[in-house]
């Protein structure tokens, strides 16, 4: 039986380990948006060099997104849109991010790979899925854009890592838990059995060059 859980950041390991596939989570507190490779490499490089990060990521929730906003002249922000982006783009950086920085929740779409699932189990982290292409409903759930990191690193005002304040942000679906379970077994690498079934249905006898 799935449960609905309201969590506040920073997230505690025991709360995360208590979550199971199909639970529904609402988060209150801060979300850190990440959308480009250099957001990940910058954090990991700084950590490796022993530098202190400009945000506290122990127990943090990160959000795979695209955003757009305008900086007003008085320095405040006109936050205009947010929606989730494809998480699998960040597969290669994520196990390190979980192990070295203490991330406890990843918000995204489409799921992530086996190596990420292993790191989640090892360190106590979950993957919380949202519906892709749904900016109209997810944008009005953000209270405030609190801070923009490294605004000089991208020329476009839309491309920086952000800290957002949210209240009961969700529904977020637990889709990879901290115990090695993932909903994306087939979707992230469709099984050969399934392919064979479809081939048979369509009368395809031989495998092609692509498969």
């Amino acid at each position: 039986m799935s449960k609905t859980v309201y969590l506040t950041t920073p997230l505690k390991r025991e709360d995360i380990e208590d979550l199971a596939i199909d639970d529904i989570v609402y988060i209150t507190g801060d979300l850190y948006t990440m959308m480009y490779y250099d957001h990940f490499t910058r954090l990991l490089d700084m950590k490796a060099a022993g530098e202190s990060l400009p945000m506290e990521l122990e127990g943090a929730a990160i959000y795979h997104t695209g955003t757009f906003f305008k900086r007003r002249e008085d320095g405040s922000y006109d936050f205009r849109a947010i929606g989730t982006t494809t998480s699998s783009k960040f597969n290669s950086f994520t196990p390190d991010l979980i192990r070295k920085l203490g991330i406890r929740a990843i918000l995204g779409k489409g799921g992530m790979d086996r190596a990420t699932l292993d790191a989640m189990r090892e360190c106590g982290c979950v993957y919380l899925a949202l519906a892709g292409g749904c900016s109209a409903i997810y944008t009005c759930k953000v209270d405030r854009l609190e801070k923009e990191y490294w605004p000089e690193s991208h020329k476009s005002w839309a491309d920086n890592m952000l800290k957002l304040n949210v209240t009961s942000y969700g529904p977020l679906f637990v889709s990879m838990d901290a115990h090695g379970n993932s909903l994306y077994g087939e979707a992230q690498g469709v099984s050969e059995d399934r392919r064979d079934m479809i081939y048979k249905k369509l009368g395809i006898k031989s495998k092609g060059r692509e498969s």
Binding site: T67, R80, G83, A131, I137, R195
Partner: protein, 294 residues
Amino acid sequence: MTELTKDDLKKAIKAVWIRSLTEIQPDILAGLEHAREVETNPRAKNYLDIIIENARTATKNHSVICQDTGVPTFFIKTSLGFPYRGSLREAFDEALHELTMGEFPMRPMVVDPLTREDRCDNTGNNVPLLHYELEEGMDHMEITAMPKGAGSGYWGTLTFLPPSEGVEGVKRFVVDSVLRAGSNPCPPLIVGVGIGGPLEEVARLATAASCRPIDRRNPREDLAKLEEELFEALNMSNIGVMGVGGDTTVLGVNIETSGSHKPWLPIAVNVNCWPGRKARCLVYADGRVEQVSC
């Protein structure tokens, strides 16, 4: 003779582009609602509810369906006699620039493919992309906007099969393309398949195919049957809405063909995410604009 002015054309471009980002077309909404009725997987049902709510909210609030407003892509159809003497390039560039910079702020998506230089206004070399088609006798200009987002655009495929592979090879390539994309391009998908022509034609066909209403089959009987067969088979993949499994992986499969060369069987697959964004308008010489579905 009344001539269309650049200002009126720009107004029409802006309106159709905004519609393509904020309004879901009736064929796609009907497809989603039907999927919601027949879907047996409760997780997929949850997502379909959210998706449909989002589509309705975007239209009602005049806000974007998806934050990724994509590469601005337009198909323009008119006749040589249509009275517009201005620059089409200037009209489209200015329209996108003015929207992005203030009238309808959008995230800048377009960069140079190699230097990654970003003009920050959704224009670039040849972007907005303008595809032209001439049709004799048209007394208006038809503009179709198709924003192409990153998540689904990434998974497009194209190959030249040896003709000996025939229909079986075509089926296999479509299936392999969709399975390879998996949960990544925001399923349920609208799959556009192009078959025939040389390189540029097969890619254009795949894109044109994904613009046709998903409830309208190809008029050629064998192709209509192939569309239906592929639709049914792809929905057996269990990829499902947002990758959570279930009965709904594709909302539609459309095929378009052109003649090809004897030693070729070119095929391209264009994968569109669930909103299947598209919008069309008809612009008349006196500046009148008719918004139509497509």
